[in-house]
């Protein structure tokens, strides 16, 4: 999960690719601001490069430390200054501590032991591989000023929305103008016709009277046509009624509001977490499994808030306060974020189940995921793009069966299939067997 963490900053850029163009300029502005800031600080702090330090920090320290927040370990903003001011400890002490903290604790160093005890007797991992330069870079990074307010200020400024919206309206305008044009044209034609008739009247030109029975009357009088039409009408209405009735109980697109707004887009999409990391039982069980909250806490123990950009995007695009949603998770799992410990008071989350197969249909995830190697998206749709999870497929029997008819069985490198595939493919004279040919359409395979 290191990846998800490292990429917090990267996320900002990632997210930006998806925001609409009007925000691009602002973002560039912001980026350049950061670059500028970084550049200036690197000049001022002669001992290290905060940009490199940041990368190192994210790779090595971020699992337990944040700059401004106590986590498994203490907050590290300005750690060097604080240490020298409060404890009188210099950079050398820090080097020693980072490279071999257990050793320092053993040696009986007073402050080392104090810290060790303060954080519940969990010794910090030793990082002997970090060179002085590396550590200097990291410390330079920790010495950076907090830049959060700038970001908020940028994000909250109204970003020229009026001008941006013009493109959307123009389409409607064109359509409106066209409509008016057509009306004018029709009106013109009518007026021309009227004028011509008046001319004719004035000039005594005899206009031929139409004596034919009107078309609709002729139609009504033709019984054969009436019967055909009636049958057609009945059939088509039956078709639509049937269509309506057969979609009862089909909840395609079902998109309930969940107790915690969990964004698959961020987790599976932006952060690229494998589906089966959380839904691990899909590999071995009939259930894909809703991840238990301890799985969430694997990452969210350190990820207590989303990147500022993501937070703003959530507020703007979806009206969701992601940070508040993480707090909901903490409440449910009983995690005291302040003191970094579990309270033991849990409130299990009552998720609303989206994909409901009827009880009489047996479906096994592992058969499809592990044996057949079917992508989750085949049935569940583009989950990695879903901000709110919804039912992508109809989950009807026809839908199941259709797939079984079309999909070849993944027989490769599976000793179970060797014999049966050889014999069956010979029997049917095909290269690859479909699930249906393998017996995947039999009633009892899913209903028992």
């Amino acid at each position: 999960m290191k990846k998800s963490y490292q990429s917090l900053e990267v996320n900002i850029t990632n997210n930006m690719k998806q925001v609409i163009h009007r925000r691009l300029s602002n973002s560039i502005l912001q980026l350049s601001l950061i670059v500028l800031l970084a550049f200036t600080t690197s000049i001022s702090a002669q001992e290290g490069d905060p940009a490199k330090g940041k990368a190192l920090f994210n790779a090595n320290c971020a699992a337990c430390h944040q700059l401004d927040k106590k986590m498994t370990g203490p907050a590290l903003r300005n750690v060097e200054t604080r240490l020298s001011e409060e404890e009188g400890l210099d950079r050398e002490w820090l080097y020693a501590w980072i490279r071999n903290s257990p050793g320092m604790i053993k040696s009986g160093d007073a402050y080392a032991n104090k810290i060790y005890n303060e954080y519940g007797g969990a010794a910090m991992t030793a990082f002997p591989q970090l060179s002085d330069d590396d550590l200097n870079n990291i410390l330079a990074y920790t010495a950076e000023e907090k830049k959060a307010p700038a970001a908020t200020a940028v994000a909250t400024t109204p970003a020229g929305g009026d001008s941006g919206n013009s493109g959307g309206i123009s389409n409607e305008l064109i359509l409106g103008a066209l409509a008016i044009l057509f009306i004018l044209l029709a009106l013109g034609l009518y007026l021309v016709n009227k004028t011509l008739r008046r001319f004719a009247q004035v000039q005594d030109v005899e206009l031929p009277e139409s004596t034919r029975t009107p078309l609709w009357k002729a139609f009504v009088q033709n019984q054969f046509l009436m019967i055909v039409v009636a049958i057609f009408f009945l059939l088509s209405s039956a078709y639509f009624v049937y269509g309506y009735l057969s979609q009862i109980g089909v909840d395609q697109g079902y998109e309930p509001v969940q107790p915690i707004h969990y964004s698959h887009r961020i987790h599976a999409g932006d952060n690229g977490i494998d589906c089966k990391y959380c839904h691990s039982s899909a590999r071995v069980s009939k259930h894909s499994g809703i991840p238990s909250l301890n799985v969430c806490m694997n990452c969210h123990k350190s990820i207590y808030q989303v990147a500022e950009e993501t937070q703003q995007e959530g507020l703007r695009e979806y009206g969701v306060d992601y940070n508040a949603e993480i707090k909901k998770l903490y409440e449910a799992v009983g995690w005291d974020d302040e003191n970094q410990k579990y309270t033991g008071e849990t409130k299990p989350v009552k998720w609303i189940r989206i994909h409901n197969l009827p009880d009489f249909a047996y479906f096994n995830h592992s058969q499809h995921v592990t044996v057949a190697g079917v992508e989750c998206q085949t049935c569940h749709g583009p989950v990695e793009e879903m901000e709110v999870m919804y039912q992508h497929s109809p989950l009807t029997m026809g839908w199941c069966i259709n797939c079984h008819r079309e999909t070849n069985v993944a027989v490769k490198d599976n000793a179970y299939y060797e014999k049966i595939h050889e014999e069956l493919s010979k029997k049917y004279g095909v290269e690859n067997l479909t699930a249906a040919q393998m017996g995947g359409l039999e009633c009892g395979k899913c209903h028992y």
Partner: protein, 1033 residues
Amino acid sequence: MSSNKKYWKSVEELNENSSIVETLKQNEFVEEIPTDEFLGDKETLESTSTSRRDFLKYVGFTTAAASLAACEGPVKKSIPYVVQPTEIIPGVANYYATTIANGFDFASVLVKTREGRPIKIENNNMAATNGSANARVQASVLGLYDSLRVQGPKKDGEDISWSDFDSETTKALIDVAAANKSIVLLTQTFASPSTNKLVAEFSEKYGNVSHVQYDAVSESAALDAFQAKYGERGLANYDFSKAMTIVSVGADFLSDWQGGGFDSGYSKNRIPDHGKMSRHIQFESNMSLSGANADKRVPLTPSQQKQVLAKLYSLVVGGSVSTDLPDNINDAVAKAASQLKKAGSKGVVVTGIQDVNAQTVALEINEALGSKAFDPKTPIKTRQGNDKAVMQLVADMKAGKVGAVIMSGVNPVYTLPNSADFVEGLKKTDLSIAFSLKEDETASECQYVAAAPHYLESWGDVELKKGHYGLTQPTIRPLFNTRQFQEGLLKWTENESSYHDYIKETWGTDILGGSSFNKALHDGVYVGTLIEEVEAEEVSEENLEAPSGNAARALAASAKSEGLELTLYTKVGMGDGQQANNPWLQEFPDPITRTAWDNYLTVSKADAEELGLTNTNVANGALNSNYAKVTVNGSSVTVPVIIQPGQAKGTVGLALGYGKKLGLKEEMQTGVNAYPLYQNFNSVQNVSVEAVSGEHEFACVQLHNTLMGRGDIVKETTLEIFNTKDKEHWNPVPVVSLNHEETPVTSPEVDLWDEFDRSIGHHFNLSIDLNACTGCGACVIACHSENNVPVVGKTEVRRSRDMHWLRIDRYYSSDDTFEGDNDKKDEMSGLWGDNGSLGGFGEMEDPAANPQVSFQPVMCQHCNHAPCETVCPVAATSHGRQGQNHMAYNRCVGTRYCANNCPYKVRRFNWFLYNGNDEFDYYMNDDLGRMVLNPDVVVRSRGVMEKCSMCIQKTQKTILDAKRDGRQIKDGEFQTACSAACSSGAMIFGDINDKESKVAKLKEDNRMYHLLESVGTKPNVMYQTKVRNTTEA
């Protein structure tokens, strides 16, 4: 040859003029829908306030409401774990090895749990000890979810906390100890090394403690005899797989005799192998499971049994005894003795007579034979009860000598014959505590009820046989606020450790000898390497009747009888009655009488006529009877009667374990308590019986689902014919006429249908060996629990609406008698006299007097050419390539055509909604009971046909597991619930396309036949012809 025999299931069928039997043959659904009853009742119809218009309004409204409600699905919530235990994956079952030790049933089992809930009991194949999971053990999982369990400690009926319980009881115990009164622990047989140690520690602390072990159904006589002979309190172990001649005198060793669990060994030699199979001779009075399986069964009275045993002793070992046995029995004994002698070390004699002399005689005969099947070195420890100590305790309590009684696993107020004395004594004790699962008869008489956990929630250890141990481990967190007896002892001895730690410690020091405790726990069983030399337990002389030097003579002399002799027995389904609140067991039809939900007096036909006891079959085939008043020494009970073919004349039988009144649902309060007749713990009593008028309605399934009068259902032959004649003689393939030529039905020309090619992939077959099947019924309960089969209750069973997917048909036949009759008929001359036809025909043995019995498990035969499939109008039932006949419940509209067209009568219709319906208040009606349901099998709804699926959920799982691992499937991996439960090897399931598999070989076996083969259904279930070893030597 099989076709000579007439098979019958009920005495009624022997009556040629019975209209009922005829009706049942012609009409499967005998019970009409009672429309006339409703519409014909004009008064009620007229007085009703609902007019026709109202009715139509209601119909319209409800239809509209129903369709509106159907438009929107309910919101379903899914709640994941907060912290998921690593061993639990939702949807994947975990198995734990444990041991049941409830005082009556002891067995090593595997418990299947799903999402933390135990849902099924299976055999632990690692267990080398006696006792695979029988029907009661299979059903015991339901006891965990019994809604009437005691949910917390109680004092005088009020809830109290455990801390109050502890402080109060500890104080009371100290007071009792200070007053120098005795403290008595009255418990079931635990056979637990750790408990014994704990009890010793408890006695050390309080002093004056006695531990009385009490078995409701006593084996005291056998224990005493064994102890006198071998110096250790235990029961001789028998391995019937090493015996070729088995003589049983009154021992029903295939069910619960001496702890039971002998059936799997017995069955091994019942399958003819290289022309040999064991011979089993049974002398008994009731028709028991063992008698039903015997090659030769001699019905006689219990007093005659004693003489038979004595005579057998004199003939095999030596010495002389005087007996007054009738000639035919004498002859049978002589033949049995000569066969035993011939078999030598391959012979074995067992007896169930509750008499020290009898038990001693049996031990001595086996010693004299040098029987290999007889093993006194590793005695069975699962019965320890001492009748005399129990009787002494009751006397002491009555005399006010006992200060405190702590009970666990026993219900003496229900099971003691003199329970009134016990209750009186209980009132005189200063402290009475019952550790109990239920607020039963005893618990409600005690001051404190300590809520005890079910064995699936407890820790424990058992020494099943000497040196053979089992461990009990919890498979679920305790559902209620309970504490097991041993934890109580730990509290009272101020031991801070948990019972788990205590067991671990005991095992570490005394048992394991260096092997891993975790491995023993994982396996559930452990065979000790540290078998110590026998330490003769100290037994006070007065507690033990020293058998005289010539036990046989004493035995013969003691065989006196007056009047009718009653033999009390335990039913396979109910045992000693502690699981009476288990609907699976209540609905389980007794293998012999095929009657569920009752106990009854079994009488012979001759006695019944004499006493005026009657059985009648009413129009729909259900059985009725009048009552009999049975009196023993002044205590009497009134019980319904079943006329039992094979019951010895002059004897009656009655099952223990029924008639419980407290701690169970009203529906389960069935039968009559027979324990008051169990005086002096003797299962044989002299009784007087008189008929009492009245009409009792039985739920007897023996006339249900008959195979429409078609013959050749059971095929059987004798060992002699089997060895000497061709298959065509004793197991011919039926022939049909094709172009006026006899053609075997197996030939493709006579078939209506084209054969599908099933040679690719799996093709499942189930083979049922009629020789190995003892009729024990473990498969019936296993099927119940695997497939969520509903319990329908007594009245519905009576209406022939039982839902068992798997039934064990029991057929009687009377082949023995025909030859004698023919001879007699040939020799007849004149009307009168000994050879006269008038008297002679009457004397000819009644076919019901001593029939032969065959058991035949029947479930859906999964016909390749299934008649049910072709008649379903909605294609709800169809065939799979793997041979299974599928049933799509959601497609079924309930026309019942399939059931009508099924020649095997194995389809079951859901006449009602059996779950969540107060009318059927069994386990599926409460949240607790529903926890036992198998989540992989649909719970069927009203109006749907259901039937055996050949456990397709299990075969599919096996296939999926293999696919996931990417491997071939080995023989033996495929199992159905019934084949997995069958410990006798009668049911073998597998893939016949795997040519090396057992089942493929069985299909080619000469004994193989299909049920009603002449119909041409080509079933995937096959049977192996029954072979009887009738060779008299």
